[in-house]
Every structure is written in structure tokens, then in C-alpha cells.
């Protein structure tokens, strides 16, 4: 049973983890919408230091409004960016967050 489903609004955490992570800086703290569950995979943060026995992590694709990601730029309202985010980097979005 996965924590999130397509359509769920989620926020990307800024875990401030040192070492190898696959969550780019530009997407941290941003709020978007889950488009799909991609499967469960070994955590690259563990694999990068040779730890292959860690827990596998759920991976989701999450869509964001480009206008929201780059507020200083002039961007059409309909443009989006979709990126893969591991479960432990996600939290349910707060009610007060703006919808894209």
C-alpha cells in the first residue's frame, strides 16, 4: 500500500542530506501533484555508499506548474515539469499551499 496516489498534492522536503541525492535543488520545498507511482527501488543515497541492504523506497512522478517553479520568469500558465521523487522526500501538501 503506497503512501500517495495519483492526484495527491505533495510537497518536496529539503532533507539537507549530505552526500549523493537525486532530488535537485530547484524542486525542494515545491508543491505539486502526484501523477503516478513508479515502483519501489533501492535508495540511491544508500547505493552511492555501497549499502545494498537498505530498505527499498517508493518512487513517484510529481507534476509542478512551471510558473510556480520560476516565479520571476514569464511562463504560460499551462506549462508543467514532471520529475521523480522518492517517498521519504515527500510530505502531504498543507491546505494553505497554492494550487498550480
Amino acid at each position: 500500500m503506497t503512501r500517495f496516489a495519483a492526484g495527491d498534492r505533495v510537497q518536496v522536503l529539503a532533507l539537507c542530506k549530505e552526500g549523493h541525492v537525486r532530488i535537485p535543488h530547484y524542486i525542494r520545498h515545491q508543491t505539486g501533484c502526484v501523477t503516478e507511482y513508479c515502483g519501489t527501488y533501492l535508495n540511491p543515497e544508500d547505493l552511492a555508499v555501497g549499502k545494498t541492504s537498505g530498505p527499498a523506497v517508493d518512487l513517484y512522478r510529481v507534476a509542478f506548474a512551471q510558473r510556480q517553479l520560476w516565479p520571476d520568469d514569464v511562463i504560460p500558465a499551462q506549462d508543467t515539469l514532471v520529475i521523480e521523487i522518492y517517498d521519504h522526500w515527500l510530505t502531504p501538501a498543507q491546505e494553505t499551499d497554492h494550487a498550480p
Binding site: 515539469l81 514532471v82 520529475i83
Partner: protein
């Protein structure tokens, strides 16, 4: 370590000069010798692995797209589970999953990997040098429209532009719209019309 840097208006793409390439060949040969001496691999395995790396390419991507255009049930399977559908064509896939994103009259897709160079290598082979460049990786997510203009593609601005950052385990292929008269063409003709730029999303019209 001598290098030739390309300067000018473009962001420098680090390209080895002849001395750099020779040195790199010496280093990788040395590494291979050391690893072989330790029984960790053999020259024959390396040769076979190189041959395997050389075999995928645009022709495989084009085959998948042309089939998706002419076989709606295959297309449905491709959209549902790209890896399984691609493997139906006897194309071995090493990536965890292949996600096919479809262009429509209202939507255009662009693929990037901002962190490194993730690309569906087991299908398409190595990515083009520009895909790995800092400029593409930095700008494709933030100003995709300008990036497309640099590639000669002027998108109507009411079209939805979706950028996919392949930062984790998924790998992507763009399914371009078929040419209007695609039913009049043989599969091999259709395949010849499809470029790598179409599959990444820096080109749109197939003709």
C-alpha cells in the same frame, strides 16, 4: 592534463584533445590490465560488453515509434508499460522502466536529466553531447521554449510544454505525432523519418 576548451558564445563543453584522448586510453587500458590481473574481468568480456554498448541506437527507437503509429494495440501496451512493449520487439531493455510520453496537438514533451545524463541508453545508445552539456541541463527545465527555439522549433505558445527530468529510475521516450499521411508509408519509410531529436523532444514534426 592538456585540454582543448571550446570558447565563444557557447558554454564550454570539455572536449579532450589528441593528447588527452591518448592519455585516457592509456589510463583505461592500465585499469583494465590491473583488474584482469586480479581476475575481476577478462579482455574478452570487455570486448563483448563494448559490442553490446554499440548495438542500440536511433534505429531501435524509430522501430518502436513506427510500430506505435501503425498498431494501436501495441501503442496502448507501450503507454502502459514501455519496457515490456519494447521487449516484444526483441529489444533488450536494462532500465527499470521506460515511460513513453505522447505528443498531441495540444501537448509537446521535452526530456532532460539535470543532474547528469540519464537517457534510455539500452534502446537509443549514448545521448548526444549537447544533452549532457551544462547549458542544456540547466536551461531545459527553466526555459524550455527558448531551448527549443535554439533547435529551430518554434512552439505555438498556447501549446502545453511538459518537461520531464529523468532524475531517478525512469527513462523516457517521446512518442511524436505521426505524419498526416502515415498510413501511406511503409514502416521502413516511417522509421527513416524519425530522428533522435524527435525522441528527446527538441524536434516535433515528423515528415
Amino acid at each position: 592534463m592538456p585540454h582543448d576548451h571550446e570558447h565563444g558564445e557557447h558554454e564550454a563543453l570539455i572536449i579532450e584533445d589528441e593528447a588527452g584522448n591518448i592519455q585516457a586510453q592509456v589510463v583505461v587500458d592500465a585499469l583494465q590490465r590491473v583488474l584482469t590481473a586480479k581476475g575481476l574481468l577478462t579482455a574478452r568480456e570487455v570486448t563483448a560488453a563494448i559490442a553490446k554498448l554499440e548495438s542500440p541506437g536511433l534505429h531501435l527507437g524509430a522501430k518502436i515509434i513506427a510500430k506505435a503509429w501503425s498498431d494501436p494495440e501495441f501503442k496502448e501496451r507501450l503507454m502502459a508499460d514501455g519496457r515490456a512493449a519494447v521487449q516484444e520487439l526483441d529489444i533488450p531493455v536494462t532500465e527499470a522502466r521506460i515511460i513513453v510520453v505522447e505528443n498531441t496537438a495540444q501537448v509537446h514533451n521535452l526530456i532532460t536529466c539535470t543532474l547528469c545524463s540519464c537517457y534510455p541508453r539500452s534502446i537509443l545508445g549514448q545521448p548526444p553531447s549537447w544533452y549532457i552539456s551544462k547549458a542544456y541541463r540547466a536551461r531545459s527545465v527553466r526555459e524550455p521554449c527558448r531551448v527549443l527555439e535554439e533547435f529551430g522549433l518554434d512552439l505555438p505558445r498556447d501549446m502545453k510544454l511538459v518537461v520531464h527530468d529523468s532524475n531517478a529510475d525512469m527513462r523516457y521516450l517521446v512518442l511524436p505525432e505521426p505524419p498526416l499521411d502515415f498510413e501511406n508509408h511503409a514502416a521502413s519509410d516511417l522509421e527513416a523519418m524519425i530522428s533522435r531529436d524527435h525522441l528527446i523532444g527538441v524536434a516535433r514534426d515528423v515528415a
